[in-house]
Symmetry: C2
């Protein structure tokens, strides 16, 4: 069924108009706070997994994934099965996975070069100060499964962990009805996943956080999931680490009017097709170009297999916004702090210094977000919902941690001891002061 | 009142004995999950602050801090007051604060050198890939106040933010009864705090997360607080960033028997004096040395001003553990993943490669933890409760974030487009595939 021609799929706004502040706030009104009921149900599931372990995970898998197996062994996906999946996909698919993996690996190796080095220095008293970097021992990666199965997410989650030096990478992926996605399994084989389990939801988060007889407890859980997964991750934070709480995906396109309008329209679709809550926004100073993109949207939408989702997303949360100039577009971009930020302009580099907050910057007409999603090299797990103000793409830095190193010389203890003593007495922590004073000659 | 001489303040365990596993589990039994009532009350306070802003903060401050003021302006601590506090403390205190600050700054500048650089490279098709590093715009630092006021925490929280390039550093510190601690204010002046408010608890976390008419919303909240603060931070995570959920402080001392036993006893005290839930543990292969430390504890404890707290902490959660050898001590240390790890040994460096998980390593007899707490240079905000398995000391890396940069050349779009197309079709994301295919010639 074609879209009704009179339907306005995408609102038009004018960033220079008097109503814009109100319109802006409506457009970016935060989703209602996490649903209290989802949170309570996730908490129940976590408690159950913590107390009953495998039995609870099996029960949940039966209920939520319609998958009834006698024991957890039946839910482990063996290395042999991962390798068999890799052997069974088409050569074209295999090559695409392998080239993508190698590009992702190379990019993340650059991150490791930067953050993976321990360092130390001595001060003038001979006191040694340093920072020791070590990889996490074991991590869990959550890969969405079922309706939407994302082999690319396997690569994006597992490869940075692998590059960081994590020894055990435990993948969980729900397989509703028991259907195991061959591309997901093949990607796990390519990315160096250590063990894989066909479990998902809050029960998988609980199994990874607490450990069960079958699923080993991990030190950190990464990867996006649905609202139950997000609620469960928030709750286990502290028992283990988590990467971030993922919200709906977003794209913001800054266009100067030089990119073919069809390309921009399709880039907006590629975000909108994820789900109805995804957000696609264009900022452009050129009204005629916005018209051209709007008409490309009308023309291209009817042929999209996911047109109902795209239309709902664009109508609900999308916008074509006319701005005064590209400088205003950059200001708005900083306020939005989008997950994906395309700068579809002839000289995109001039705007980079003006852009402070974004998960990833896609520069120039040829850089469609989808190239970044799959194979450019940088990670596609990015901060959403404005969290790019304070957080980063998933990276090697998520899979290492630092320990401070201090070795105070006998000499240094004389000088530092006096300072520590003064400050400790100021805080009325006498044992702290005495410990420093005892080292004075 | 002296400690009764027959009181066994510190349990003795034998790590080579058959009961050790049971004893170990009892000693490290996780605290009961966060109190559901505290969590619910923190949630109520956050909701109130979110909806009523300043008025809610004023009400909470009246109730919880017994501080009744007419408006929020009365709770802002001006720059003039911070400077006046710095001018009014003793020259010895001022110098101690300034030397500590300069050492902390120098250490964190090394971190900035490592993580603060943006980078990029071009692949063989001319595609540009990179990572852009930017500081956070505005952060909130929570400084405990009241019974325990910690000027050193002001330095440790504010300086890394300042070094990272954060423009606005907003300090909150509760002042029960209205008493403003001069050393805390002086430390804020030294550390470059932009604005300070005499508020605390969940209400301060809410004010920083949501913003009020008076308190600006921040991008990240760091710093330890009580259980309400911890619960509130967990809840606002996602609205803004948080550093970590702080638990009670801990020290683990690995001793080969070469350090004066009094020094080790006092180091154990300096952790225990923080609060009754703090944990001080000694691992040592030498039974006679453990006896000597135990007797030093008995001898030194009666003179400590905080002896009741120390005794409760040692009796409740402390232990003197005899190990087979230092190698076993290192294994146990990795299992414990302590916040503070002292290696009080003659050649401490030999053990560093064996130690994977610790917030900070203190090497050698002269390196009392208290030197690190105040002025060695590294941060004293460290991961507690075993979270050193996956997290790091507070650092410059907490105050920057990264954006990926991708600029695909027309050439590169040909090769990457084909790969992205194959993978996108494999995920049934047709718009993603089409966006890539449109860029093919």
């Amino acid at each position: 069924m074609n879209m009704p021609l009179n339907a306005p799929p995408l609102r038009r706004l004018d960033a220079t108009g008097p109503d814009f502040e109100t319109q802006y706030r409506a457009l970016f009104a935060r989703m209602a706070d996490e649903n209290a009921e989802i949170d309570a149900r996730a908490a129940d599931i976590l408690r159950d997994v913590q107390s009953r372990g495998d039995a609870a995970v099996l029960d949940c898998t039966r209920r939520f994934d319609r998958l009834d197996v006698p024991d957890m062994a039946a839910l482990e996906i063996s290395q042999a099965e991962l390798r068999a999946a890799l052997a069974a996909i088409t050569p074209e698919q295999r090559s695409a996975l392998e080239v993508a993996a190698s590009r992702v690996r190379r990019y993340h190796e650059r991150q490791l070069q930067q953050v993976g080095q321990s360092w130390e220095y001595r001060d003038e008293d001979g006191t040694l100060l340093g920072q020791k970097v070590t990889p996490l021992d074991r991590v869990g990666i959550y890969v969405p499964g079922g309706k939407a199965a994302y082999p690319s997410s396997v690569l994006m989650n597992a490869i940075p962990a692998h590059v960081a030096g994590v020894q055990d990478i435990i993948m969980v992926v729900p397989t509703p009805g028991g259907e195991r996605n061959p591309l997901v399994l093949a990607a796990a084989a390519v990315a160096g996943v250590s063990r894989a389990f066909a479990i998902g939801g809050a029960q998988a988060v609980g199994a990874l956080a607490y450990g069960t007889a079958t699923v080993p407890a991990v030190d950190k859980i990464v990867g996006p999931g649905n609202a139950y997964v997000a609620a469960a991750k928030r709750r286990v934070f502290g028992i283990c680490g988590i990467d971030m709480i993922a919200g709906p995906s977003e794209i913001l396109v800054l266009a100067d009017g030089s990119t073919p309008p069809d390309w921009v329209a399709m880039d907006l679709f590629s975000q909108a097709e994820h789900d109805e809550l995804a957000q696609s926004i264009l900022l452009c100073p050129d009204a005629a170009y916005i018209d051209a993109v709007a008409s490309a949207i009308h023309r291209l939408l009817p042929d999209m297999p996911r047109k109902a989702i795209i239309e709902a997303s664009l109508a609900g949360r999308g916008a074509l916004v006319q701005v005064r100039d590209m400088a205003q577009a950059c200001e708005l971009a900083n306020r939005i702090a989008p997950e994906h930020l395309e700068i579809s302009a002839q000289d995109p580099h001039q705007f980079v210094p003006l852009l402070k907050h974004a998960g990833a910057l896609f520069l120039g007409a040829y850089t469609s977000e989808s190239l970044g999603d799959y194979c450019a090299g940088p990670n596609h797990v990015l901060p959403t919902s404005g969290t790019a103000r304070f957080s980063s793409p998933l990276g090697v830095y998520d899979f290492i941690k630092r320990s401070s190193i201090i070795e105070v010389s006998a000499e240094g203890a004389q000088r530092l001891g006096r300072i520590a003593s003064v400050l400790a007495h100021g805080e009325r922590l006498t044992a702290h002061a005495r410990a420093a004073e005892m080292r004075l000659r």
